[in-house]
Symmetry: C2
Subunit: 343 residues, 2 copies
Amino acid sequence: MAAEMRLDMVRNNWVVIATDRAMRPHDFPVSRSGGPGIDSGQFCPFCEGNEAHTPREVTACRQDGGEANTPGWKVRIVPNKYSPFRLEGDLSCSELFTQSSCKTLGQHEVLVESPEHQAQLHRLPREHIKLILNMMRERYQALAADPRVKYIQIYKNRGLFAGASLAHSHSQILALPVVPRENQGISDYHRRTGSCLLCEMIAQEREEGLRVIREMDHFLLLCPYASRFSYESWVIPKRHTAHFGDLNREETDELAFIIRDYLSAVLDSLADPSYNIVINTAPVNVPTDSGYHWYMEVIPRLIVTAGVEYATGFYMNPVAPEIAADLFRRHLEQSGGQSEQTR
Amino acid sequence: MAAEMRLDMVRNNWVVIATDRAMRPHDFPVSRSGGPGIDSGQFCPFCEGNEAHTPREVTACRQDGGEANTPGWKVRIVPNKYSPFRLEGDLSCSELFTQSSCKTLGQHEVLVESPEHQAQLHRLPREHIKLILNMMRERYQALAADPRVKYIQIYKNRGLFAGASLAHSHSQILALPVVPRENQGISDYHRRTGSCLLCEMIAQEREEGLRVIREMDHFLLLCPYASRFSYESWVIPKRHTAHFGDLNREETDELAFIIRDYLSAVLDSLADPSYNIVINTAPVNVPTDSGYHWYMEVIPRLIVTAGVEYATGFYMNPVAPEIAADLFRRHLEQSGGQSEQTR
């Protein structure tokens, strides 16, 4: 097998990538063992009519009015019932030799994407997806205004192999009191070179074309050079902008389009796998010229992360991003006419 | 739910730990969805008699003599057929703007732990486990002698949810041409304080007693303060020693005992989950006074790593290590008489 190690400059670690062949979707053991199948038979607290079974809502979109915590909503945000994060008091920390701890100061919210149990994000009408994105952006901005919040992670787990515990389509918003070290490579690069890593990536990928899936007015879709996960792709705003909360109206429109049409193409071409979406953004309160540049990762969960990844942080990826990009390009082309019509 | 954030000082990141309750083994969705079950019906290249179906062996233990690549072995090490790592030539690297890559210079070996398909590591006789550990140590030392090798990762994946693709019990040895950043917290701590993080942890944990599972002559068994995974435990040599390759005879004897009796207790008490074992060790060629201290992690795979962990590196652990340690202590006590007899 031909392969090479590639440096993941966002995570500051190496990825081992097979460069000459690709495991096809049905070659993956996890994919064969079941897709998003989570027991849907059990009672669902996210369904319309069951509002009393969640904590009281943070906000909801009710186009026909109606009271909070009653039916009639399109998108609903509630505190995550099982999360320990609370935005109360100050961040108290303690340290004793090798043991440092802090209070779980923060906020953890669930965005229920639809009142309907069977709905799936990429099958919702584009206007509905815009509503979801607008509410995410509003919550991002509201949480970012709290000086105790240092980082906001927006993410989605879909399916058992992506860590979801409920089938009803939802995303999560987690406001944290500390900055995770995970995307530190972006600020390291900026400190070292004075440039934005993502802007440079965009320029280089556009030049080479190999890993670009599609270039749109406001976003570039690509499979990253050092993909940690097979068939991973990134949706990067072309405008240099640090925070997800800075998403503007034109970008929201286009991102809704991408989530519907591009995410459909990904999931169709991979036989409906479990997946994560994560939004990688700047720490709250860093200026836009800090070198951060937000982007969205779409991660199909085809392989179980194994011992070597946990121990070393080295991911082993049996699918070259060039091959993944080619697959997604072809799927998008096939559905292209349809997309343009509905655009 | 009461919880706190704890700093994982080895990985330099935060873990969110529920402190007042524990998910019990049968509460985990993955555990309910199947344990180590990998299709055993298919042809197994690791079984005795099938030697021709692996790459030619690196070494094997044949107590009654016999030729290489024929039956009659007890433990057998072969190159990993599907790995791209080869210990040939020099490490050639290239860099072009945001893209850095290196050749997959290294060696990736599979240690087949028994000729029998149904054997499981923790059920093997203690003498057999000693044989395995001795062969691991010998391979570690042999690979470490090559100046191109910078880090050696020994690990084991058992079961579908731990990333294993074959049911036949085996471990893996991966010699890498670069040092992963994952356990960098250990050297950071040494640079900052002049002390060994693991030695200080041992002292503090022994003092507090809360997370200690058992103290033996040469090893301390504990659930780490900032456990990333539910029911994770560490086996730490009490002697300050940087490299796994420095394991001496008395330590090997005791470690074989631990693997059999302690690992059995872990797997019994968690209803036979998938698991990883990883050996965290110093980069090759760093001196023993560098502040590194090798140890073994036992990671039951009860929860699927989700979007938030991949995005932020923050692990969410619903089981306090104090509760996990208590469970393991009780299980070891129950099987204690038996263990002492066979010791």
